[in-house]
C-alpha cells in the first residue's frame, strides 16, 4: 500500500492555500505537495502558477531545477546512499554497487515490488562516520557490508 494520498486537484488547492501567503512560497508549496502526494505531478503546475500569480513556465522551471522534487511517487521507503568524496574515501563506491545488486535497481530506480527507491545523495553531513545513508528520515553511519545488508533488509520490510 502506498503511503501517499492519490492525486486530486481539490486536495492540491487546499495544500497550496495553506502556504501561498508567505513570501517566496514556491518551495514550501512544492515540499508540502510532495509530502502528501509523494511527488509534484505536472497537473499541479497550473494550479500553483495561478495561486502565486506567476507563469506556468516559472513553476515548471522551479520544479525541474531541484533534485528533491519527483514527477511520480517513489517506493514506500526511500534509501539515500551518500556518494560524495568522504564516503568514496571510506568504501562507499563498493557499497553503492552492492546496494544496486541486492535491490536489483540502478540509482534513482524503484524495486519491482514498489517497496524501495534507491537514490544518490551528495553528502548527509555525517562525514565523520562515512559511509552514510538515510532511510526516509533516519540516518545511518559507519556502514560496512554487514550494516548495509541490515539496512537493505529494514528498507524492504
Amino acid at each position: 500500500m502506498s503511503r501517499f494520498e492519490p492525486w486530486t486537484p481539490e486536495r492540491a488547492s487546499e495544500i497550496i492555500a495553506q502556504h501561498q501567503n508567505q513570501k517566496g512560497a514556491t518551495l514550501p508549496i512544492l515540499h508540502a505537495l510532495q509530502e502528501v502526494f509523494g511527488c509534484v505531478p505536472l497537473d499541479a503546475e497550473p494550479i500553483i502558477a495561478e495561486a502565486l500569480n506567476i507563469s506556468r513556465a516559472e513553476v515548471h522551471g522551479c520544479v525541474t531545477f531541484y533534485h528533491d522534487f519527483k514527477r511520480e511517487p517513489g517506493g514506500r521507503r526511500t534509501l539515500k546512499l551518500c556518494l560524495a568524496e568522504s564516503c568514496q574515501a571510506s568504501g562507499g563506491r563498493a557499497l553503492e554497487k552492492r546496494a544496486k545488486e541486492k535491490l536489483g535497481v540502478e540509482m534513482g530506480g524503484t524495486t519491482a515490488d514498489r517497496r524501495v527507491t534507491l537514490e544518490p545523495v551528495y553528502c548527509l553531513g555525517l562525514c565523520h562516520s562515512s559511509p552514510a545513508a538515510m532511510l526516509d528520515h533516519d540516518v545511518y553511519g559507519a556502514l560496512d557490508e554487514e550494516r548495509l545488508d541490515e539496512l537493505l533488509k529494514e528498507a524492504q520490510s
Binding site: H67, A89, Y122, H128
Partner: protein
C-alpha cells in the same frame, strides 16, 4: 538522582544513540534506578559515539562507544558511579582530544540540552545580545570589525565589512539570511551547531538584525538535515515565547523575528546569490555581482547573508569583545576555526582550534591517520571544490592565505582523508561529474565545461591521445576558473588540477614533465 547525557545529534543517531537511550530508560525502569536522561548535541568526538556521559562529583565521566546490548553490563560495572571500564574515557573535559581544543563557537555543544533556553542561558547564552542592545547598532558593527571575523562559509570575506555596508543603506526593509546549505562533503560543523546549540545561531542572527536594522531573518537549511530542521523550529519557538524574538526583543524596542526554510537538494544553492533566488521561490540560479546582496539582496532589499559559523561566532564576540576573539589565530585569519576531520580517518570529528595549526598535525596527530590503517595518500580540504593535498604539503598551516598560496582553499574547514587505494584520476573525474550534476546552468564555462571535462577525463583514463588531452584539460580548467560566474564552475578546477599536478602518475602522465610545468 543520577544524570546521564546522551547525544541526539544525527552523528550520534546514525551509529545507534537512540537505541542506547531507550535501553537506559528500560534498564532504569526495571532496576528502579533514579536516573534522568538528558539529550544533548555532540561533543564532536564521533568515533566515540554513542558517547554516554554520567554526572559525578569529579565531572562528567564518559563511556564510548556504547552499544545498546552492553548497557546492562556497563551499569553492572558501576558506570553510574563513574567507575572504570574499558569503555571509560574518564572525565570528558579532561580527555586530551577535547581538552586541547579552543572551543569558542562550540563551547556549549554536546554539553547543554539544545532545546532548553534555560540551559542556554545558564551557560552564558544571551549575554552577547544583552550587551549588543546596550551598545547600540554602530558599536555592534565596530565590535565585529575589531574581531577580524571572516566568513566561515568559504570565501573568507570580512563579516564586519558586510555588516557595515548593509548598516549604511537607508532605513527600509532589510533581511538577515543564514546560509545553512552545508553541502560540502567533509563538513558538518553547521549541522552540529544547529542540532547542538541552535540558540547560539538565533542569538547571532538577532544581533545582526539589530546591528543593521533588519527586522526579519531566514535560515536557508538544506533538506538533507531533517534533524536540524526539527531542532531549529523548536528553538525559534522557544526564543519567541521567551521574548528574545518578536516585536520587542528583550524589551529593547527592536523588532526581529525569523523562520527556517528548506532547500531542495541543489548544491549550488550554497552560493549566496543562488540561495537568495531559491528563497524567493525561483530556480536557484546564480546572480551576477554587482549588485551585492548587501545592496540588493533578498526580495531586492539590503541583506546580510552569512554562514552558520560566522553568525554563531557573533554572540561570543559581543559578550567577550572583538579583541578577545581577534587574539586567537594568525596573520589575517583571526579567531578559531572549527575543523572537521572526515573520510577515511581514525578520529573523525570536529576540532575547534585557532588558525595556524598545520595540515599534518590535523591529519596524523589529531585525526590519528586512516581508519583503514593504510598510509594517507591525499587529503581534500574545503569540500568538493577544494584542492587535493599530498603528504609533501602537510606542513601548510591552516590559514586562508597560506592555503591560497598552496593553490588550495580552506573553504568551510572540512578535511577528507584518502588512503593509498585512491585513484586520483577518478577523483578528478568525479569533480567534473559533480559540477555537471550540480551546475545551475546559467553560465557556459560551468555548464558545458564540466560535461566536456568528464569526457576528457574518460579519454585520459582510457589512454586515448593522453598527452594532447592533458593539455586540453589544463586549458579547459583555465576557462572554467576565469570564466565561470560563481565558485562551482570557478573552483572545480582546484580538485582536478591539484590531482593532476600532485599525482600525475594516476593520469598515466610522466611525473617529470608536469612537475616542470608547475
Amino acid at each position: 538522582m543520577t544524570r546521564i547525557y546522551i547525544s541526539r545529534d544525527s552523528g550520534a543517531l546514525c551509529v545507534g544513540a537512540e537505541a542506547v537511550a531507550k535501553k537506559f530508560r528500560d534498564e532504569a525502569k526495571s532496576r528502579g534506578l533514579d536516573v534522568e536522561i538528558v539529550r544533548t548535541g555532540s561533543r564532536g568526538m564521533y568515533w566515540l559515539e554513542p558517547l554516554v556521559e554520567v554526572e559525578t562529583p569529579q565531572g562528567r565521566v564518559g563511556y564510548g562507544p556504547v552499544k545498546a546490548a552492553k548497557v546492562g553490563e556497563l551499569i553492572d560495572a558501576g558506570m553510574l558511579e563513574g567507575k572504570a571500564h574499558e569503555k571509560c574515557i574518564g572525565v570528558v573535559d579532561e580527555f586530551p582530544w577535547f581538552k586541547n581544543q579552543t572551543r569558542l563557537t562550540f563551547a556549549r555543544c554536546g554539553i547543554i540540552d539544545p532545546r532548553s533556553i534555560e540551559d542556554y542561558r545558564a551557560h552564558g547564552g544571551y549575554e552577547g545580545l544583552k550587551k549588543a542592545i546596550a551598545a547600540g547598532p554602530k558599536a555592534i558593527v565596530e565590535e565585529v570589525l575589531t574581531s577580524g571575523l571572516r566568513g566561515r562559509g568559504g570565501a573568507g570575506f570580512p563579516t564586519g565589512i558586510k555588516w557595515r555596508t548593509v548598516a549604511e543603506t537607508p532605513p527600509q526593509q532589510k533581511y538577515i539570511v543564514c546560509n545553512a546549505d552545508e553541502g560540502d562533503s567533509g563538513t558538518f560543523a553547521d549541522r552540529m551547531v544547529m542540532e547542538g546549540d541552535p540558540f547560539e545561531l538565533i542569538e547571532g542572527m538577532t544581533i545582526a538584525g539589530i546591528a543593521v536594522g533588519a527586522t526579519y531573518g531566514y535560515i536557508y537549511l538544506r533538506s538533507e538535515y531533517p534533524h536540524a530542521f526539527e531542532t531549529l523550529k523548536i528553538a525559534i519557538e522557544e526564543a519567541r515565547k521567551a521574548g528574545y524574538l518578536g516585536d520587542n526583543v528583550m524589551g529593547s524596542g527592536h523588532a526581529y523575528d525569523m523562520e527556517v526554510r528548506l532547500g531542495a537538494g541543489a548544491y549550488v544553492c550554497g552560493e549566496e546569490t543562488s540561495l537568495l533566488d531559491s528563497l524567493e521561490g525561483k530556480r536557484g540560479e546564480v546572480r551576477a555581482k554587482p549588485p551585492l546582496p548587501a545592496h540588493i539582496g533578498l526580495f531586492g532589499q539590503p541583506t546580510i547573508i552569512n554562514n552558520v559559523l560566522s553568525l554563531a561566532a557573533v554572540p561570543l564576540i559581543l559578550d567577550k569583545g572583538g579583541e578577545y576573539y581577534r587574539d586567537f589565530g594568525m596573520g589575517k585569519s583571526r579567531g578559531t576555526m572549527p575543523i572537521q576531520l572526515a573520510g577515511n580517518i581514525k578520529h573523525g570529528g570536529l576540532y575547534e582550534t585557532a588558525f595556524g595549526i598545520t595540515l599534518g598535525e590535523l591529519v596524523d596527530d589529531i585525526g590519528g591517520g586512516t581508519y583503514s590503517g593504510r598510509p594517507v595518500r591525499a587529503v581534500q580540504v574545503g569540500g568538493p571544490l577544494g584542492a587535493y593535498f599530498p603528504r609533501a604539503l602537510f606542513d601548510t598551516p591552516f590559514d586562508y592565505e597560506a592555503f591560497t598560496a598552496a593553490d588550495g582553499l580552506i573553504g568551510h574547514g572540512g578535511i577528507v582523508v584518502f588512503d593509498d587505494t585512491v585513484d586520483m584520476a577518478q577523483q578528478a573525474r568525479f569533480a567534473m561529474e559533480f559540477c555537471a550534476i550540480e551546475s545551475c546552468g546559467k553560465c557556459t564555462p560551468c555548464r558545458i565545461g564540466s560535461a566536456r571535462g568528464m569526457e576528457l577525463m574518460d579519454k585520459i583514463v582510457a589512454g586515448e591521445d593522453r598527452e594532447a588531452n592533458l593539455v586540453v584539460l589544463e586549458d579547459l580548467c583555465d576557462t572554467m576558473k576565469f570564466g565561470s560566474l560563481c565558485a562551482l564552475g570557478g573552483f572545480t578546477p582546484y580538485p582536478v588540477m591539484s590531482a593532476l599536478h600532485h599525482f600525475p602518475e594516476d593520469f598515466g602522465a610522466a611525473k617529470k614533465r608536469l612537475e616542470a610545468a608547475e
